[in-house]
């Protein structure tokens, strides 16, 4: 079988999918290790979702609170993740993020300063100490610009802007490249590479109330899954408690946690500061899952704001402080909602923000279960467990982007002497599938389905039935909707040609989102408990046995299998660290965790 359409071939040692923080840090690492690198991004360079991160990078520098350290950061992250995290990833992360922050500064990144000139750190939800290195409320932009500048000046890196990759190519069991198209002219392109790194981010676009850009359709994870990799912890989808809810066009746009970090307070329609009730210790700065559920409960109880959320108030901080510390928020509400936040409260509600799950990887190297394929950042799962703490994603992309880039470079170099072959049959199959929506409707299915309408229907199903609260019944309904939409997706049709045709591009986005949505729903069904971001109305408690496993989605021919895999227990040397968290409470440890005492008594019984 030969290719059905012409294509351009590009050869590199390492192919990096995505140009957010993880992709760019991986590219820099691979190039510095002596590899040629192609970085492929769906957008222009510097527009990736990293740019939206506002709060900062969590790192135990101890510049503001001297008691902070990597150990306490480790403990907070594990407890925040309800101990479902891959502990080795957390250990590596808490250690190395400190170096990554200083490295960013050496590369020209700016951070706000303490009075004695060191990197300033701010408080954030569920972190024991003031820990987030930041610059105003634009830390993500600073990070992306710094990495972007470093990367374009690193020799060996070429950036392919506005290209979409749609499938990984395999040589036997090994990933050997990817196929996709140039968005601007619609021409096909094949990248041949010794190793592929996914720095392709998360997926929030299958929900209606989302802070994610159009890019977050889970392409990387869907490609990896299709190529045989495993998806881990997919049920854990983070709702950020504070997104804009009005006007309709602004729905879902993020209101940074820094608003609460700087002292912003949440009120219900009766003027009551309800977080005092839901979490008297951490209050507004409780973990994101707790605050999001609290707002949801207030709205359900009829105490919501006019558009179905809560009031977030910073007026007591004074206009000057608000404008200095939260300039983007001031501007955002002023421009989009005609609200002066120094004079009026903001109306906020939960919005999809982050996906803890992702491609299952090795903690040290980011290697997936498929040879030659690596992943880092939001595309990978394991670091955050059942819930991510704010500030831990900007650190994640730096630490594990670098590690994945290093490991991919090692692997690619070891394969340089082997012949690079491309299986024309795989290319042809992918081309045929991609071109289908552009062909005239000849399959007797009528005028065909509008991809945007399918997307809207998927968003409705996921928002209503697989959202912040779920039950067996609602999830089963969502699964039915996904299956029905998957059948209809076979008949998507769009007008226009291959040149810059967003309708055509959306067709593949929808296919990818359907795969990822199925993984979310199937995993959420299996986790019959409430833990972290997973809130099951029909199983409100944590389950001891489920605290000892992660769920993994695996492709078996055309069916999706969900299997439970046992957690690697926390080793003896790391157990005492948990007590270093200010939020450690032996009475309230996540169920399933073997405390030292319990572990000892279990030993005695044996």
């Amino acid at each position: 079988m030969v290719a059905v359409d012409s294509y351009t071939t590009i050869d590199r040692d390492v192919l990096v999918v995505g140009a957010g923080g993880a992709g760019m840090r991986a590219a820099i690492a691979a190039a510095e290790a002596g590899c040629t690198v192609a970085v492929v991004t769906k957008s222009l360079l510097g527009k990736a979702h990293t740019v939206m991160a506002e709060g900062g990078i969590a790192a135990g520098l101890g510049n503001v609170d001297a008691d902070d350290s990597w150990e306490v950061h480790f403990a907070d992250t594990m407890l925040g993740g309800q101990l479902l995290n891959n502990w080795r990833m957390v250990e590596i992360y808490a250690h190395e993020v400190i170096d990554r922050v200083y490295e960013l500064e050496r590369w020209g990144g700016l951070f706000d300063r303490t009075p004695d000139g060191r990197i300033m750190q701010r408080a954030f939800g569920a972190h024991s100490w003031k820990r987030l290195a930041h610059v105003g409320d634009r830390t993500g932009l600073e990070l992306i610009r710094t990495l972007q500048d470093r990367m374009v000046h690193t020799s060996g890196v070429d950036v392919y802007m506005e290209y979409t990759l749609t499938a990984l190519l395999k040589d036997g069991d090994r990933v050997c490249g990817a196929i996709g198209y140039n968005r601007n002219d619609g021409g096909f392109v094949v990248f041949r590479a010794g190793a592929v790194v996914l720095g392709s981010g998360g997926w929030g676009r299958m929900y209606r109330q989302t802070s994610n850009s159009w890019e977050s359709t889970g392409d990387g994870a869907a490609m990896a899954y299709t190529a045989g990799a495993e998806l881990l912890d997919m049920e854990f989808v983070q709702f950020h408690p504070t997104g804009m809810i009005w006007p309709p066009g602004a729905r879902g746009i993020l209101v940074t946690e820094a608003v609460r970090g700087e002292g912003g307070l949440l009120f219900n329609s009766e003027g009551k500061r309800f977080m005092l009730e839901y979490d008297p210790v951490k209050k507004e700065l409780s973990s994101r899952d707790v605050v999001a559920r609290s707002i949801y409960k207030e709205v359900q109880a009829g105490r919501g704001s006019p558009h179905g959320g809560a009031f977030l108030d910073v007026r007591h901080l004074g206009a000057e402080r608000v404008k200095q510390k939260l300039p983007s928020m001031y501007e955002q509400f002023h421009a989009l909602a005609s609200i002066d936040i120094t004079q009026q409260p903001m109306e906020v509600g939960p919005t999809i923000h982050y996906t803890m799950g992702g491609v299952r990887v090795d903690a040290e190297t980011g290697a997936t279960t498929v040879a030659g394929l690596y992943a880092g950042g939001e595309a990978a799962g394991g670091l955050h467990g059942a819930n991510r703490l704010g500030g831990n994603s900007l650190g994640d992309i730096l630490v594990f982007g670098r590690r994945a880039g290093d490991a991919a470079a090692d692997y690619a170099r070891s394969r340089r002497r082997e012949p690079k072959t491309i299986d024309e049959r795989q290319v042809a199959e992918e081309q045929t599938a991609l071109l289908r929506p552009l062909s005239p409707s000849g399959d007797g299915a009528g005028p065909g389905e509008n991809p945007y309408k399918l997307h809207e229907e998927l968003q409705a199903a996921m928002q209503d039935d697989a959202g912040i609260g779920r039950s067996e019944e609602s999830l089963t309904r969502a699964l039915g909707a996904i299956q029905e939409l998957s059948v209809r997706a076979e008949h998507m049709r769009v007008g226009g040609g291959r040149m810059l045709n967003p309708g055509w591009h959306t067709c593949r986005d929808v296919t990818n989102m359907l795969i990822i949505s199925e993984a979310i729903v199937r995993s959420a069904i299996e986790r019959r408990e409430s833990r972290g971001s997973q809130w099951r109305f029909d199983h409100l408690e944590q389950n001891v046995e489920l605290g000892k496993v992660n769920f993994v989605c695996r492709r078996n021919r055309d069916a999706m299998l969900v299997v439970s895999v046992p957690l690697d227990p926390l080793p003896e040397r790391l157990r005492p660290l948990l007590e270093r968290s200010r939020f450690y409470d032996p009475e309230k440890l996540p169920k399933g965790y073997m405390t030292k005492q319990r572990a000892r008594s279990a030993e005695r019984v044996r």
Binding site: K47, V51, R106, G108, R113, R118, P248, P306, A337
Partner: protein
């Protein structure tokens, strides 16, 4: 831009609305858009679309409505839809703006025209080829601290505050689009443009950077072509004082170097620094 006065309504005094209006925000009215469609080689022309009006609607919302319901082939760049990424730059009623930040109720009543950025070569519909900007960025030497100066560094907040203004740039390229040196004279090949003078300023004024990019900015970047009309500052969605705080300080540095009479005498007496750098104490 002509703006209509908007009266902010306190959240606790939002007028009672029907449950349906609270959910969809539909006002019952419509807005007419004239959007430029077509590729560079296919006679681009305005196409008219009518879109239902929604409370607080921005032009990007209207473009999305068109894509979803009327014309799935209409191309438009966008990403964050929160004025943080600078992707959705276009010209609305002839003015360079971010589509995601431009509210329809801020525009004069009547049809709204939406065209691509005029300065850059058209690819298709509202999307232009902005690749030249990325080439310029590559030409500007990156941040370079003194060899061996590894940190952690002590830097004062006042320095960060000054640099932060430049670093707020979201690379929407509206300043490049509006600048007459590029728009009317088409000097993209010899003029870096306002965005990259901001970039140079952010590097030059970083307390830990040791390179001097002034010469290059004048010789290759065409700093002298800027005659301070301040159009760039006017369109900047991040309110960066591009002319006052980036371009003029760079021009002053250059003027100091070449035209300062005290330095002229100094050069005659002590010779000129061959590497083009400013001598210690030379400020």
């Amino acid at each position: 831009m002509t703006t209509t006065e908007r009266v902010a309504v306190p959240a606790d005094e939002v007028p009672a609305a029907t449950p349906a209006a609270l959910e969809t925000g539909l006002t019952g009215g419509t807005v007419v858009l004239h959007i430029l469609k077509g590729a560079a080689d296919a006679a681009p022309h305005e196409v008219t679309y009518e879109v239902p009006m929604v409370a607080g609607m921005v032009v990007l919302d209207a473009v999305h409505y068109v894509q979803h319901n009327l014309d799935t082939d209409l191309a438009c760049r966008w990403n964050c839809k929160a004025a943080k990424c600078g992707s959705c730059s276009a010209e609305v009623n002839g003015r360079p703006v971010l589509l995601c930040k431009t509210r329809i109720d801020d525009l004069p009543t009547g049809p709204v025209t939406v065209h691509p950025l005029k300065t850059f070569p058209l690819i298709k519909d509202l999307v232009t080829d902005v690749s030249r900007n990325y080439e310029v960025n590559k030409e500007i030497p990156q941040f370079t601290p003194a060899p061996g100066d590894e940190g952690p560094w002590r830097i004062q907040q006042a320095d960060i505050d000054r640099l932060y203004e430049y670093r707020r740039c979201i690379e929407c390229f509206l300043c490049q689009d509006v600048c007459h040196v590029m728009r009317s004279h088409n000097y993209a090949d010899r003029f870096y443009g306002p965005r990259f003078f901001v970039r140079v300023a952010s590097l030059e004024m970083h307390p830990k950077d040791v390179l001097d990019r002034t010469e290059q900015t004048v010789e290759e970047g065409g700093l002298g072509y800027c005659n301070i009309t301040k159009c760039c500052t006017e369109v900047c969605p991040e309110h960066i004082h591009i002319t006052d705080n980036a371009i003029i300080p760079l021009k002053e540095r250059n003027a100091d170097r070449h035209w300062d009479p005290v330095r002229f005498v100094g050069r005659k007496l002590f010779g000129r620094a061959t590497d083009g750098s400013v001598r210690p104490g030379g400020h």
